[in-house]
């Protein structure tokens, strides 16, 4: 095992993949964890369920477009939605830092609750711990969720087939830039607003129109690059995307050039990719664009035979280059 100390790089992207593969999976699954989906599907005779978990450690706790409460509910509901599961219930575990303002805590919890209410999701159980000052950045939240999988739909990242189209639900990078702008050391303020939202409605609309959708994945930390990479690897294909087709809001483009970052690597919290059979693409786009959370849906590429690189990008000058997983920690460059 080559990892000796946990560093910030292990929190996402390439570093996180390394941590999972070298430390966590070997501890839990001596053989292999199998295909990694957004939620685990299990059957109780007659019903299929989805079960997932996620932890939220965002700083600052409040930001334009959302807060940790909204994030904690949307994050887990979205993971269920990506597996075609209607969210039914969440557990909420809170780790609170000593000194946290109680009315602020209430505000965060109400945010979380509001997302659950609009998704008919019950907060079924929970836990609370308090840690000493300095040990929790205000608060950390873990949510686990259970959902009921839509009948007649079976999604998996392994299902992508050659010839399928890759649809992106909207412009990328807004959440990540919103958060980065809050960091004092980066010295910029932004008009960017987080795209944090729950995606069950829009994904359900897609699945109702195109039940033979192959896979969906929401882009979170690691950006668009990470999920395309995961889909390609799991389905043993190569995904080809077109730079000109990928919607990047100007404010994200500007912030990325200022910091020296790649929009494909920037976090999202309300965007997803759907892999659909080519013959269904018009129906899929129509269904997505009819929904307020899918207005900007567009085709960004297609699935092809497996080549050396999992994800290839055709650039605006017509060149072709591989898309890599982002580094675990996005560092601003001056060079």
């Amino acid at each position: 095992m080559s990892i000796k100390t946990i560093t910030l790089s292990h929190g996402s992207g390439k570093g996180n993949k390394e941590l999972l593969e070298e430390v966590i999976f070997p501890a839990f699954y001596p053989n292999s964890p199998g295909i990694l989906e957004d939620a685990f599907i299990f059957d109780i005779p007659g019903r299929r369920f989805a079960f997932t978990t996620d932890s939220f450690v965002v700083t600052p706790l409040e930001f334009p477009g959302g807060d940790i409460g909204k994030l904690a509910a949307c994050g887990t509901i979205n993971d269920l939605a990506m597996m075609a599961a209607q969210p039914v219930m969440l557990s909420v575990s809170l780790i609170l830092e000593e000194g946290l303002d109680a009315s602020f805590l209430t505000k965060m919890l109400k945010s979380l609750q509001a997302v659950c209410v609009s998704n008919n999701t019950k907060i079924a159980c929970g836990d609370t711990k308090v840690v000493e000052k300095g040990n929790a950045d205000g608060m950390f939240i873990n949510t686990s969720g259970i959902g009921i999988v839509k009948v007649g739909v079976s999604l998996s990242v392994a299902n992508a087939k050659i010839g399928d189209v890759v649809i992106l639900s909207g412009g990328i990078g807004l959440h990540g830039i919103t958060i980065l702008a809050q960091r004092k050391n980066l010295g910029f303020a932004s008009s960017a607003v987080s795209d944090c939202c729950s995606l069950f409605g829009v994904t359900n609309a897609l699945l109702s129109a195109v039940p033979n959708t192959r896979a969906m994945r929401d882009a979170t930390r690691g950006g668009l690059a990470a999920i395309l990479y995961e889909i390609a690897e799991a389905s043993k294909t190569t995904i080809k995307i077109f730079e000109e087709a990928i919607p990047v809001p100007d404010v994200v483009r500007g912030a990325c050039s200022f910091l020296g970052l790649d929009p494909l690597h920037i976090a999202n919290e309300g965007r997803f990719v759907a892999i659909v059979p080519n013959e269904e693409k018009e129906k899929a786009l129509a269904a997505l664009r009819a929904h307020p959370d899918g207005k900007e849906a567009c085709i960004i590429g297609y699935v092809t035979q497996k080549e050396k690189f999992p994800v290839l990008l055709k650039t605006i000058v017509g060149g072709v280059r591989p898309v890599e997983l982002p580094p675990g920690e996005l560092l601003p460059r001056i060079c």
Binding site: I177, A181, G187, F188, A189, S190, S191, A192, D250, V251, R253, G254, A255, S257, F258, G260, R333, I334, C335
Partner: protein, 75 residues
Amino acid sequence: MCLAVPAKIISINGTNAKVDIMGNISFADISLLSDINIGDYVMVHAGFAIQKYDIAEAEETLKLISELLKVSGEK
């Protein structure tokens, strides 16, 4: 090296300018340049404006390139 971005000057306070980079606001020290006005575009690197962006020259460059492209490959 090195990364620098074109930024629009939106206000000036002594040697400190507020700049806009496509909807992102930052600050740039303008003491390495002279005659900077609100509305100018400057290249910002490491928190400093290092040169003014000359729009007229930019137009010239594009014009020159398009003329070079019109010239046939034979010489």
